[in-house]
């Protein structure tokens, strides 16, 4: 009860009161008691007020709305259907049925309102990441202000248990943060000085002092909230279809009912009461509410369920596209591979591995290139820069430096050749980037650096089968082919410049099976044009990257490729529920309709008053509505990932 809106609570009490008054009347009318009391022979001035009271208590607002709508030139909505059905029943003398239909209709309205409210709340609860305040340091004092008031560059303090209010960089302190609300990832991230904190996460263990990098409006949390809030505005095609369908469906039903009620009695001299009641039953059963509500509700649930797993789908239309995906194109670096280079092989020729590793790292210690960083990482120890002299970078080749009095060359084969160092051919077949080291004109060995394949990349490709998977990469053929073979990707195109990637995607778009969609998965860096060209653009590892959030249709908050498969499964499930509801509602409605018409044709002649199926029809209608709405809420639950 506490979650009902004011209006819903009022409706609940109205139904209760009307039900209490109506129940004895219903019992008298439908049990032998009624015959005992000669109920059907009671004068009109007794029965009419008796039945009108609960009817009006339950349905006065429906009547009012229907009348108002007629004045505004808008007829043929569900209020109108219910009004003519019940008022018609009154005129035909079926008071009990009129009351019953109205009561059931209102029960349906109430239940539907509650269900919609409930799923709306559970989706907003998922997105409960809005920070309420920020502790900002101003003139030596710590003030609690709203995050909107904090300027970029100000110092904020985040205590354990608080939400990170703005995107910021840690100045001092160490902590770990819970990113589960953003990414669905349960493992907390360890952060220390110099690391970036993403707003919307929860600070877990330590107190940290940070410098804000963005105003609140541009912070990750604000962007995500905006995205989720707007997601329900982009409508799916089937959603629009249902709206259009209802526009023609309702008038069509009214016309059919009119014909049913008028033609047999007027032209064939059949019993008026029987056919009018049949016509009214038609009106009751054909109310399209179940469809009109459940379809958008399902899409909403699907978006919410995906958000729970760190997958932001920017609109219901993208759910439809995702469900149709038959081709998945990956931009290799940053999606299937981590994009961080690591030293995988150290092959010394004339020294220990440690010495070789030291020389390579020392020579590259002034460079910030990813390869240099990976060399420094491989050495693990701190490098004493005072021992490194006269570092000379030779662009495209490598570095020449003086280390501990040794003349050291670190770079590719071209560098070795330039200085006349004879490279010893390695018996291994190297796939990654090979860095050679020469000391005092002699060859000292080489290290191999590789881009690492992400742990769940293989599982992702397997989960995506039998869809076609393609890798596009700017990398060398040997590297791309090796990764593709290892992951069992169907197709690979290597050595592509960014512009060529767009061309390749266009070609793949032309090739894809008819009626299917193509998804492009990128890490959001430099691939905005491709993301927007594909049917579905999926950006990965978007935490903190605005460009990706803007350009993509689907945003994976963490950098795990498995999210692509999860997103598609979510979309497929949502789509399936939508069609289940559409088919189920229409089947029941059409079935009941045919049954009613058939019984009417079969039962020739006069029908007893009080022996008709109008109440039953209303019950069927509300039942369908409730089931469809309950089915729709299933979309909130995400299917489990495959192993």
């Amino acid at each position: 009860m506490k979650h009902l809106t004011r209006k819903q609570r009022k409706l609940f009490y109205r139904i209760l009161v009307a039900g209490v008054i109506f129940l004895p009347l219903f019992l008298i009318g439908h049990t032998p008691m009624g015959e005992l009391w000669h109920f059907h022979d009671w004068p009109l001035y007794v029965t009419l007020p008796l039945f009108s009271v609960p009817y009006l208590i339950a349905g006065y607002d429906v009547l009012r709305k229907a009348v108002l709508n007629i004045f505004h030139g808008r007829i043929f909505d569900e209020n109108f259907l219910m009004c003519i059905a019940t008022v018609g029943a009154f005129f035909a003398g079926a008071y009990a049925e009129a009351g019953e239909v109205m009561l059931l209709y209102q029960v349906g309205e109430l239940l539907q309102g509650i269900a919609v409210g409930k799923s709306r709340r559970s989706v907003t609860a998922l997105m409960d990441i809005r920070p309420d305040y920020a502790n900002v340091e101003r003139d030596g004092a710590l003030l609690q202000v709203s995050p909107e008031e904090v300027e970029p560059g100000e110092i904020i303090v985040i205590k354990p248990g608080e939400k990170v209010p703005l995107d910021c960089v840690i100045l001092s302190g160490k902590t770990n943060v819970d990113t589960a609300t953003l990414t669905g990832e349960a493992m907390p991230r360890d952060l220390a000085e110099g690391d970036e904190m993403v707003s919307g996460c929860v600070n877990m263990s330590g107190m940290v002092k940070c410098r804000t990098t963005k105003p609140y409006g541009e912070s990750t949390v604000a962007k995500i909230l905006e995205l989720v809030e707007n997601a329900s505005f982009a409508k799916a095609k089937s959603e629009n279809f249902i709206t259009r369908f209802a526009k023609y469906y309702t008038p069509a039903v009214v016309i059919i009912a009119l014909l049913l009620g008028a033609v047999p009695p007027v032209f064939f001299g059949e019993d008026v009461y029987k056919w009018v009641m049949l016509a009214l039953t038609c009106l009751v059963v054909s109310c399209p509410c179940a469809l009109v509500i459940s379809v958008p509700l399902t899409f909403f649930g699907g978006i919410g369920g995906a958000a729970k797993r760190g997958i932001l789908i920017k609109g219901a239309n993208h759910i439809e596209e995702l469900a149709r995906v038959e081709t998945v194109v990956f931009d290799k670096t940053g999606t299937l591979t981590s994009g961080t280079f690591t030293v995988t092989v150290i092959h010394p020729d004339s020294m220990t591995e440690e010495e070789l590793s030291y020389l390579a790292a020392a020579a590259e210690c002034y460079s910030d290139h990813p390869i240099s960083r990976s060399l420094a990482q491989a050495y693990k120890k701190e490098i004493d820069r005072t021992k490194v002299f006269s570092v000379k970078e030779l662009p495209g080749k490598g570095v020449h430096a003086d280390i501990d009095g040794l003349d050291v060359l670190v770079g590719n084969r071209a560098l070795m050749e330039e200085f006349g160092v004879a490279v010893t051919e390695c018996h291994h077949h190297h796939l990654g980037t090979v860095v050679h080291v020469g000391v005092n004109g002699c060859y000292a060995g080489h290290v191999e650096i590789n881009d690492q394949v992400k742990p769940d990349a293989e599982r992702t490709i397997r989960a995506l089968k039998p869809r076609k998977t393609v890798i596009l990469t700017g990398d060398r053929e040997s590297v791309g082919k090796e990764v593709a073979a290892r992951l069992q990707v169907d197709e690979v195109h290597c050595g592509l410049l960014p512009a060529e990637k767009v061309e390749k995607v266009e070609a793949l778009l032309a090739e894809k099976p008819k009626g299917s969609a193509l998804a492009f998965v990128g890490d959001g860096i430099n691939d905005a044009p491709v993301l927007s060209r594909a049917d579905v653009g999926i950006a990965m590892g978007a935490l903190g990257s605005d460009a990706a959030i803007e350009a993509a249709d689907v945003v994976l908050m963490d950098d795990k490729p498995l999210g692509v498969a999860t997103a598609i499964r979510c979309a497929k499930k949502t789509k399936r529920i939508v069609w289940q509801n559409v088919i189920f509602s229409l089947t029941v409605k059409v079935g009941v309709l045919i049954f009613e018409i058939a019984t009417a044709f079969a039962a020739h002649g006069h029908m007893e008053q009080g022996h008709n199926h109008m109440g039953l029809a209303a019950f069927a209608d509300v039942g369908v509505l409730v089931l469809a709405v309950l089915n729709a809420t299933r979309a909130l639950r995400v299917p489990k990932d495959p192993k």
């Binding site: 809106t5 108002l68 909505d77 569900e78 505005f233 209802a246």
Partner: protein, 73 residues
């Protein structure tokens, strides 16, 4: 200019679609969305006449669903 408003007591999906359709036909409206599920109303309209268009839109909403209120901040 694009603005989002909260709606209260919008309780039929039909009505939301009708409001949307009617408001879209107003002059100066670039795009409009009435979301029954989110209980929100997004209006994108000409800057100069925004307030005027908004007033007109609120009137339309009231006509379609007399109980529904758009909370204009």
């Amino acid at each position: 200019m694009k603005k989002t408003f909260v709606m209260e007591d919008l309780d039929c999906a039909h009505c939301a679609a009708k409001m949307e359709e009617a408001i879209r036909k107003l002059e100066g409206v670039n795009s409009v969305t009435v979301s029954y599920i989110a209980q929100k109303f997004v209006l994108d309209a000409e800057d100069a006449r925004f307030d005027e268009i908004l007033k007109e839109a609120v009137k339309i909403c009231r006509k379609v669903e007399p109980d529904c209120r758009i909370i204009v901040k």
